[in-house]
């Protein structure tokens, strides 16, 4: 029995080299398998969430993301809402003035006026759920804005 145990342990130890080779050579394969089997993805707090809808304009597209309130368990009271403006051509129009309804209840929640030359942003809130303007980021000719939101107590269950 002791001899058998010794042999098994030596074999296990000797498997270390093939395991290292398998790790490096099969790294991409195992990584894809890990991601596809587990369904893991980067947190929406980092990426901005999933795209909810796209609004087409003459010179640009507005990508509207799902509001992010994800918590460890359930949803948090505070979250944000991301908007991405992408030009159809080379650049965005000088002035962008749009209204948004983040909770899709038919009533507008806030309005953003963006001057893409001076990069001044004006936020006008129409509801109590809008807290403040977060970041406005530049990605080449695109602009991304995040608006900080707060849920009402009743909304947190949904």
């Amino acid at each position: 029995m002791t001899r058998l145990k010794t042999i098994v342990c030596y074999v296990w130890a000797l498997m270390a080299v093939p395991l290292v080779l398998a790790t490096f050579m099969g790294m991409n394969f195992w990584a894809e398998k890990l991601v596809s089997d587990t369904g893991l993805k980067v947190s929406p707090w980092c990426t901005g969430g999933e795209i909810m809808s796209t609004v087409e304009h003459e010179q640009h597209k507005t990508l509207i993301y799902q509001p992010v309130f994800d918590g460890l368990i359930g949803q948090r009271r505070n979250g944000f809402f991301q908007i991405n403006w992408t030009p159809n051509g080379n650049s965005l129009p000088r002035l962008i003035d749009e209204e948004f309804d983040f909770d899709s209840d038919g009533t507008r929640d806030f309005r953003i006026k963006l001057n893409t030359e001076t990069n001044e942003v004006h936020l006008e809130a129409f509801g109590n759920n809008v807290v403040s303007l977060g970041e406005v980021l530049i990605l080449g000719s695109e602009r991304i804005a995040r608006v900080a939101l707060r849920k009402n107590r009743d909304d947190r269950q949904s």
Binding site: K5, T6, V8, C9, Y10, W12, A13, L14, A16, V17, L19, V20, L21, A22, T23, F24, M25, M27, N28, W30, A31, E32, L34, V35, T38, G39, L40, K41, V42, S43, P44, W45, C46, T47, G48, D70, G71, L72, I73, E135, L137, I138, L139, I144
Partner: protein, 359 residues
């Protein structure tokens, strides 16, 4: 393994760098096997690897982004390379929300999350906490500074501080789960000083920058010089504490043969990560935090300390056990380090020929 499957580089400088790295790595391994001195040559390559990592990483960043600063745009686009230090913090949120709380990319780009997780899993099975002495690209910095002084200025460190990494691990796991952001990366990681960090645009980020620079100077440079120990790795790093848990199921360990041991405690004094104490000497087993660096083995005058394969008789075939361990361990170190070493030699050759390290 060095080219990662692609052919030899066509650029003469890159080819030269690769050949030099290949000769260096193989030469060190040859010396390690022949001389029966594990730690002496492991540490040499480990330190070279860490320095080359810093050179290559920073040069790449400057080439691609223009500076070491990581911006919000980079994070939103998932352009932040994934670092293994984040792993303990992502586990609870990943288990409960199936999302990774790190602004990287799952499969694309340099150091994608998926590929780094696979590397870490493989290393954990093969090396256990040997990751810290054979794979971690930060450990070599701590190790390098710990070998500068001839004698330690600070000799006695209270044993309770050896539990601090576990305490920090517990706190960062809980706070990361609570805030859904990697708190160690944001607040405590000293290695941001040699990789990338956020642009200082608020008082919070300024405070974070002061903290991580201070920790780098204190834990990675000053204290290792004064104590001749790996202070960041042994007394602070939560990833090291997390990796210690993998020693439980790793097949390799460091053991002390009580029949040969002279109780001189030299191994206790030389262990860089405080993984040996008087109790270890009495029991013949290193603590769970052992990084399998081999320094105690090299320093023991009675050759009582050795690598050992769990489940096999002690004191028998210890040279075979050593070889069975150092082959996969060194292979891991070589493959992890070769790209960085090649890159750094290439940058040095670029500097010598063009006057600039950046293309």
């Amino acid at each position: 393994m060095i080219t990662g499957g692609s052919g030899l580089p066509k650029d003469s400088l890159q080819l030269t760098a690769m050949i030099m790295a290949y000769i260096l790595i193989n030469g060190i391994f040859y010396l390690m096997v022949l001389s029966i001195k594990t730690d002496k040559y492991r540490s040499l390559l480990f330190v070279i690897y860490a320095v080359c990592f810093v050179i290559t990483f920073i040069s790449n960043l400057v080439e691609v982004r223009g500076s070491m600063i990581v911006t919000q745009e980079d994070m939103v686009q998932g352009h932040t390379p994934f670092c293994h230090m984040v792993i303990p913090m992502i586990i609870v949120p990943a288990a409960l929300t199936r999302t990774i709380i790190f602004p990287g990319s799952m499969l694309e780009g340099f150091a994608a999350i998926g590929t780094m997780l696979v590397l870490w899993l493989g290393a954990s099975i093969v090396l256990g906490r040997g990751w810290c002495s054979w794979a971690c690209f930060y450990g070599g910095l701590d190790e390098g500074f710990s070998r500068i002084a001839k004698k330690p200025t600070i000799k006695n460190i209270n044993k309770k501080w050896t539990y601090l990494p576990f305490a920090i691990l517990l706190v960062i796991v809980l706070t990361s789960a609570a805030t859904l952001s990697p708190t160690y990366c944001a607040w405590l990681c000293p290695f941001k000083a040699v990789t990338e960090f956020e642009e200082i645009s608020s008082s919070t980020i300024l405070l974070q920058t002061i903290i991580f620079f201070s920790l780098f100077i204190g834990l990675v440079i000053v204290l290792p010089i004064l104590t001749k120990r790996r202070i960041q790795c042994g007394l602070f790093c939560p990833m090291g504490a997390f990796q210690s848990l993998t020693n439980k199921f790793n097949i390799f360990e460091v053991r002390i043969d009580p029949e040969k041991c002279a109780q001189c405690n030299l191994c206790v004094k030389t262990c860089p990560t405080f993984s040996l104490d008087e109790e270890s000497v009495r029991s013949g087993k290193s603590r769970i935090t052992c990084t399998k660096c081999g320094k105690c083995i090299d320093s023991c005058p009675k050759q009582a300390v050795s690598f050992h394969i769990k489940g096999t008789p002690l004191g028998v075939n210890f040279e075979a056990a050593r070889l069975i361990f150092i082959y996969p361990a060194f292979l891991f170190l070589a493959v992890m380090g070769s790209g960085m070493i090649t890159g750094a030699i290439y940058r040095a050759l670029l500097l010598a020929t063009t006057g600039s390290m950046i293309k």
